[in-house]
């Protein structure tokens, strides 16, 4: 036992001595994290307290899991949880792959000017805030003046008020997210693609592989580790759907299917001074779920490919 302990100490000392430079370099970063992330993290206790803003964090009374019971027993909360998971799920299924595919296809464009132009244009929507983008969506889907309904009417159908029908709402959210995030999301993948070795393409070309084949066998595998990392990070934030987007697009007719946790917090006033602890409890709940999911996804990705995963 003593031998084991001494060995750990010695190993530790040896490690530090061997890589002292790296540890030293990391110190300012670690300090930043401690000050701005871990010190405030102590505030998580608010979720277990009846937080009175004037009393402060430490003097507010402890209530254990009462806050969690409160929101978890609320049927409204469960409904919003379901909405959030479904919308996030659709995000993962449809919005996540889109920038990847776009990056792969864009990479095949030969003309460098066209490539640059397309890429620049593609990320412009990212900069249009939801307050305005939402307005564009309304205009597009308007039953009276919108182009989509104009096309429908042209083919003999009657106008559909897309924004007021429950069955369309989540799709509207997903498609608008795709439109807004396609170009910007592709940036990381395009950067990764630049790291693929030209020689491999040449070899494949000589072997007679067509473009599609080359994309599938060379480009895609080469950026697979980036994809996996992005996927893990995305899964970790599965309970985060953009509040601004929902706030702009949601209306009373589709509350049932569109209200997310964030919107619920806003509508119910959980972020107000009186309900701060409830809001903190919901936040902690979201964090734990995200953490579990990241661990799970990470473990799976490690099993699937060696060296995969975040840590």
């Amino acid at each position: 036992m003593v031998k084991h302990k001494g060995s750990i100490f010695k190993r530790f000392k040896r490690a530090v001595m061997a890589h002292w430079e790296l540890y030293l370099l990391f110190i300012p970063i670690a300090v930043w994290y401690i000050i701005f992330c871990y010190v405030p993290m102590g505030g998580i206790v608010i979720a277990f307290k009846d937080f009175k803003i004037l009393k402060g964090i430490w003097d507010s009374p402890w209530v254990g899991f009462q806050n969690f019971e409160k929101f978890m027993s609320s049927t409204a909360f469960l409904a919003t949880l379901k909405n959030t998971i479904i919308i996030s799920g659709m995000n993962l299924l449809f919005v996540f792959p889109a920038p990847i595919i776009f990056a792969l296809l864009l990479n095949e464009i030969r003309n460098p000017f066209a490539k640059r132009f397309i890429q620049t244009v593609s990320y412009l929507p990212h900069f249009i805030s939801w307050a305005i983008a939402g307005g564009l969506v309304y205009m597009l889907l308007s039953p009276s003046t919108g182009p989509i309904n104009a096309v429908i009417r042209f083919f003999g159908g009657s106008s559909v008020n897309f924004m007021s029908e429950s069955r369309f709402f989540r799709w509207i959210v997903t498609l608008s997210s795709m439109w807004k995030g396609l170009g910007w999301g592709a940036i990381v993948y395009l950067a990764a693609i630049t790291g693929v070795d030209e020689e491999m393409y040449e070899a494949a070309r000589v072997d007679g592989a067509g473009r599609l084949r080359r994309i599938w066998s060379i480009t895609l595998p080469s950026i697979s580790n980036v994809i996996v990392i992005m996927l893990i990070l995305q899964v970790g934030s599965i309970l985060n759907v953009s509040f601004d987007q929902i706030f702009t697009l949601l209306n009373d007719a589709v509350l049932g299917v569109g209200e997310t946790i964030e919107y619920y917090i806003y509508r119910v006033g959980l972020s107000s001074a009186n309900n701060y602890s409830l809001g903190a409890a919901v936040g902690l709940f979201k964090s734990v779920i995200g953490f579990v999911l990241i661990m799970a996804t990470n473990a799976i990705s490690k099993r699937v490919s060696e060296g995969g995963g975040i840590w």
Partner: protein, 532 residues
């Protein structure tokens, strides 16, 4: 590490220098200020300062206002004036974007502003926790404040917790809504402004089916709106509004499940089904509505009083409908002769003083001055003699309706002088709307029509309880969702009883009962709830 040391060092230097700067600045200004209208200003000072003729010691007062405005070169003279005449150095934070969170952070860091100008609900949250100074005994010493509130003693109960007064309500008129019609359409069809339900239905029909704009195309709707905008006038026709509580004789009814509300929805649905109402009214946002109005597709709408002139000023109605004109109507009467526009909360905001503020007496003096005739005008219009002039008690000139936005002295006004306003004097306010420009005329008309409308009031306005805060959000969501379902026909009115039952199951009755307790306590009454 180094950065943190530097940051802390910088912080220390900054902290020291600002306090020193602040003190020097205010004393220097006290000596060098030169407001041109020194005669009238000294009158104001003597109002406040009684016999003392010495300049007051300047004090710095931190202020937090919920406002989309910002300090600019045209609000600076007001600031200087207040410093010179009242010795108050206003240290103002104006916030509107995420202001509730910002305010909560200030409180949490023990930096409660000396004066807070915030919404009643937020005020109440903090007042309950003891954030504000008890003004109960002090208030009576300030004549303007007392006079301001005296018409409505009940208002004091809105700012009290456990019988103690913690704030001063900032009041406004309760009548803020109007119905506006396309006047040219009425004329084209030979109709007059509808007063009864039958007349209104006929106007709606005619607007939709009789081609009021004479373009040969059936592209118009009688009535338009946007999501979340109250069906206020319709509620008034039947005496029942969602989320309101109505006094019916001796008992109080829950609006959301009342017969009146049901009838209002049924009538609206009737108009909707017949196609007289723009079907997008329930889901579109206000931008889409203004677009439709500008395109000449909508014949009437219920809106805030300022939207009457805003249609011209901000939404391009004059441009896009050069031959069109608008006219205001009164609240349409329902089958039993009832009518009313939804009443807004007369308490728009509350002014509170932090519990640990220094110089509370000076602060109250400042507030008292703001409520005086001259104080109100300076806070709203700017320094007298520069930005406005009076003529024997009548507003003689006010830059805002000068077409070139010029001050009395000819300086062009770029900014806004109302930045620090916290109180409205509803008796004086209309004077600024009197004038000859189209916008002024419409503004005055809109304001006075809305103010004088019959109102449908909420008996439990502004009251809150723990049950209310816990259960109301989900109840409201249910009510909002069901309203749409009833109107669209997704839910039949035959199932109204199960809707009401669900409302009660969600806690609607509990909420009403808890609010009733508050109501009786606050207003010293003995009301009871209707049978449910």
């Amino acid at each position: 590490m180094k950065k943190r040391m530097i940051a802390m060092l910088l912080a220390c230097i900054l902290a020291v220098s600002t306090t020193a700067c602040g003190r020097e600045e205010s004393s220097a200004d006290n000596k060098t200020s030169d407001s041109p209208s020194s005669s009238s200003s000294s009158e104001a000072v003597s109002d406040v300062n009684d016999e003392s003729e010495e300049p007051l010691d300047p004090i710095t007062v931190s202020m937090f206002l919920v406002s989309g405005r910002f300090e600019n070169e045209d609000s600076d003279p007001t600031k200087q004036y207040i410093l010179a005449e009242l010795g108050i150095d206003m240290d103002v934070t104006l916030s509107i974007d995420n202001w509730e969170q910002k305010y909560s952070l200030l409180v949490s860091s023990q930096n409660i502003p000396s004066i807070s100008y915030i919404t009643p609900s937020v005020f109440y949250e903090y007042a309950e926790q003891g954030a504000y100074a008890d003004l109960t005994d002090l208030i009576r010493n300030y004549p303007n404040i007392v006079k301001y509130i005296s018409e409505n003693e009940a208002m004091w109960s809105r700012v009290s917790v456990d019988g103690k007064i913690y704030g001063i309500p900032s009041l406004n008129t309760a009548g803020k809504w109007n119905i506006t019609y396309r006047q040219d359409w009425l004329e084209n069809l030979g109709l007059s402004i509808p007063e009864t339900m039958e007349e209104f239905t006929e106007v709606m029909r005619a607007f939709t089916e009789d081609d009021p704009d004479g373009n040969g195309v059936k592209d118009t709707y009688g009535f338009g709106n946007w999501d979340g905008n109250t069906l206020g006038m319709f509620y008034g026709m039947f005496g029942g509004a969602s989320e309101y509580y109505h006094l019916n004789g001796d008992t109080i009814e829950i609006g959301s499940i009342s017969e009146g509300y049901k009838n209002a929805l049924m009538y609206y649905k009737e108009l909707y089904d017949k196609g007289y109402v723009d079907p997008e009214s329930l889901t579109q946002k206000s931008e889409q509505f203004w677009q439709k109005l500008a395109q000449g597709k909508v014949g009437s709408w219920v809106g805030w009083w300022s939207q009457y002139h805003a249609a011209y000023q901000d939404y391009g109605f004059g441009e896009t409908q050069p031959d069109g004109s608008l006219v205001l109507g009164g609240a349409v009467k329902g089958p039993s002769g009832m009518s009313g526009m939804i009443a807004s909360d007369p308490v728009t905001n509350v002014v509170a003083i932090s519990y640990n503020a220094e110089n509370i007496d000076r602060i109250l003096e400042f507030i008292d001055w703001q409520l005086s005739d001259i104080g109100y005008r300076v806070m709203r219009y700017g320094v007298e003699g520069e930005y406005f002039t009076m003529n024997g008690g009548q507003l003689d000139y006010f830059y805002r309706y000068d077409s070139d936005m010029k001050t009395v002295s000819g300086k062009v006004v770029d900014g806004d002088t109302e930045v620090f306003m916290m109180f409205n004097r509803t008796d004086i306010y209309p004077e600024q709307l009197l004038g000859d420009t189209q916008v002024q005329v419409m503004a005055y008309e809109g304001y006075s029509t809305a103010r004088d409308n019959v109102l449908l009031t909420n008996e439990f306005q502004g009251l809150t309880s723990e049950v209310f805060q816990n259960k109301m959000p989900d109840i409201t969501k249910y009510v909002d969702e069901m309203r749409i379902r009833f109107i669209l026909g997704n839910e039949s009115f035959d199932n109204w009883d199960s809707y009401a039952a669900e409302y009660i199951r969600l806690g609607g009755l509990e909420v009403a009962e808890s609010l009733l307790v508050e109501y009786n306590e606050t207003y010293d009454k003995n009301a009871t709830l209707a049978e449910y």
